[in-house]
Amino acid sequence: MISQRLVGRAVPRVEDDRFLRGRGRYLDDIELPGLLHAAIVRSSVAHGIVRGLDRGGGAGGAGSVALVLGPEEVRARAAGLVPVVWVVPGQRDVGHPLVGDRVRYVGEPVGVVVASSRYYAEDALDRLYLETDELPAVVSPEEALAPDAPLLYPDWGTNVAVEPESGDGADHTDAVFAGAGGVLRARMHMGRLAGSPMEPRGILAVPDAGTGKLTVWISTQAPHAVRDAMAAVLGLPQHLIRVIGPDVGGGFGVKDHIYEDELMVCLAALELGRPVKWVEDRRESLTVTAQARGHVQDVEVAYHPDGTLLALRTYGVRDAGANLSIFGAGPHVSLAANLPGPYRWRAVRATGPVVVTNKVPSGAYRGFGQPQAAMIRERAIDMVADQLGLDPVELRRRNMLGPDDLPFTTRTSLTYENGDYPANLARAAELMEAGPPPPADGRSRGVGFSSYVELTGVGPTSTNKVLGVRVGTYETATVRMATDSSVSVITGSSPHGQGHETSFAQLAADRLGVPLERISLIHSDTDVTPYSPYGTAASRSITVGGGALVLAAEELADKIRRIAAQLLEAAPEDVVLAEGRAVVAGTTAGVSLTEVAEQAWRGYDLPDGMTPGLVATRVLDPENLSFSYGTHACQVAVDRATGMVEVERFVVVHDCGTVVNPLIVEGQVHGGVAQGLGAVLLEEVVFSDDGQPLTATFLDYLLPTSSTMPDVQTEHSEHPSPHIPGGMKGMGEGGTIAAPAAILNAIARALPDAAARITDIPMTPSRLWELLQDTAGA
């Protein structure tokens, strides 16, 4: 019997105290004796053949420059390629040299300088000059497809890195379109985004001459993936690399990568036999850290005049940047797989090239293809509603999978497990209607909706073979009770703001009957934690990592009950663990968990055949993904004179299975919505025609601020996942997935005259104002 005491409660987080007092320990907070500091040599051109590094006065300047590694030295020291973990058939990019024979984006790292301080390292950078034979840059993916376009990889004979085909075949899809009474066609642009965690990336590499071991502290989401990539590129065996993640100041996907500059810092530390630290500055964060999105999609929806949605087809030109990053075709596979959303379709098909351009590579960012899928589908559905003269909520309702349709396998082979999709849509509509009437201030107002299914809990390792993911996506947890009955939980999952130390402890506390303050989480250290090659991404921590913890905690609880039962002369099934004690249910007979733990570790007088100790380890490789879902709705006010959009209200009704901690879940919703809002109204990475990044500061790349972000009214409908122990479904990305389409739909409702042309994000004030001028002119 499990008494649910902490799961479901809004427990304030245990990690907060150190952050609020300035006692967190982020990467740049770590100081070591003899520490040296690195700065990275980067390309200043978008495309060129690397000729070498002109050292000028590079070495021997002020401040004792310890080392300069130019492109030749880095190349000579690299033992292997930077891996690509996601490879689909026909993919041309399956791994990148640490430094190649050409540079392909501004800021591409080609070397490293080490000095006694960062100031001196940057002084030294000023005295170095990377010699290149500049080549013409290809900045837009459409230009990259032109027959005479300069090629980034001449060996390929094309700038197309991969052209995945997903969902239904062309013939079937064409047939459904041919039989449709109506077809909506729209071209949708989605801007490039920068994940922009508030703590930039950083690394501290510490070689130990005595043991030959390299210890690496790094601001990462995936210490084990970092370790594996380092071993491959540095040519060290994995057991001689220890990767530790300290407190990590946000990641959002961009820290699920391993980067060439980070690997170069390790090379420098190994060369010098000294600890070397490098911390990315904001300019680097906004220009050389992996970006995301960046699409043009030609979207078509086939429908019946009666309001039945039939088919969704999209052809996208997707801007990869200079290479496919470690995630390969992953975001594109995810986009296609998630197109169906919560609706019935007779055909769903996604095609189109992933194109290399002379820009920083794109990769993982919160949502990983799902925000694009939701934007395509949900904006298109609203446009179909306009063509049919139907209410967009009603059109969604008619086509939405009902609770009795689940489990349901989509046209893209995802199997949704359970839930009540229409109930959440209806509730979101109800909440919007219940809002106060808007003030009569002359602005145009609109209400928009966006329904989604969120692919989470990646995932069953068996499907990775089909998808082309070259690592496993199981998780492992160890739960250990010490002789004083305090508990350590060891997880492969690696937090960076999500509150694992609290939510994982809540899961363990309920099963072991131990108070929260006597449980600690051990994480983010490859020497100590179980192998987790995918890391904290894809909304998989509380599902797969937490699910493994539930299994291990239950196994340990069983052992505790058996020992206690012997001490209490009772049956194990009658023993309940609560408040630090094991008691016989319905009686006052009991024993403290400390007494049980002492007995277990003393190791004698245990039940027959029982091994000493109180440790349990379990691996969870779930049989399916878990699918959260919900509906976002919002009200916007648009000033036609300026193009300014204000999001006035925002409602989220969602189901993420068991809610372990409502505070944390709602915090994730708020943050996700804010990033979705940013993508629609503010954020866009911009390059000049020759590939120079133009959004290198927070004054150019605009993040949402408090005044741009409304309060969010959140409701949960809990349908526990049947195949995740504990019933959780992931929910870290839902806000970012659904919010953009909800906001764009609301803008279109506010401006019915221009609605058919409101298909692009970000819809900045200047873009919206121009669109309104054009509409008025036409």
């Binding site: 007092r21 965690p197 904001r282 004054l699």
Partner: protein, 156 residues
Amino acid sequence: MVERHTVAMTVNGAAHVVSVEPRTLFVDVLRHELGLTGTHVGCEQGSCGACTVVVDGLAVRSCLMLAPQADGAAVDTVEGVAAGPDTHPVQRALHELHGLQCGFCTPGIVMALVAAWNQGLEAEEAEREVLEGHLCRCTGYVNIRAAVRAAWADAL
């Protein structure tokens, strides 16, 4: 040889004297000379607010301040807000209402709000004007605003 400046200041009530190159950012002195790593560097452009400390009673961005400018100043950093087990009402409200996630922007927000608190600003000014100068990528600000209202209303 590069000229060095001597900077004498009080930080969290303790006197410190450091010798720095004039170009040294004040935040680097706090973090790397004095070991006060609670103050964070988010942008070095003055736009994110993570490095906010209180200098002579005013919230300032320590990444936009050169170390010699701190000569003679009384400086408060996040480490000095609550030394004992009890935290400031602002810290308490941020904790109770989940106004922080990764925690990186948090010390700057705490310092800006504590300065506003000490200056006697109204809750609405703190919520609308002070918070507007701080970037947070995790929380969407919703719970930070709720924490400001709660702290000022003494609701906790």
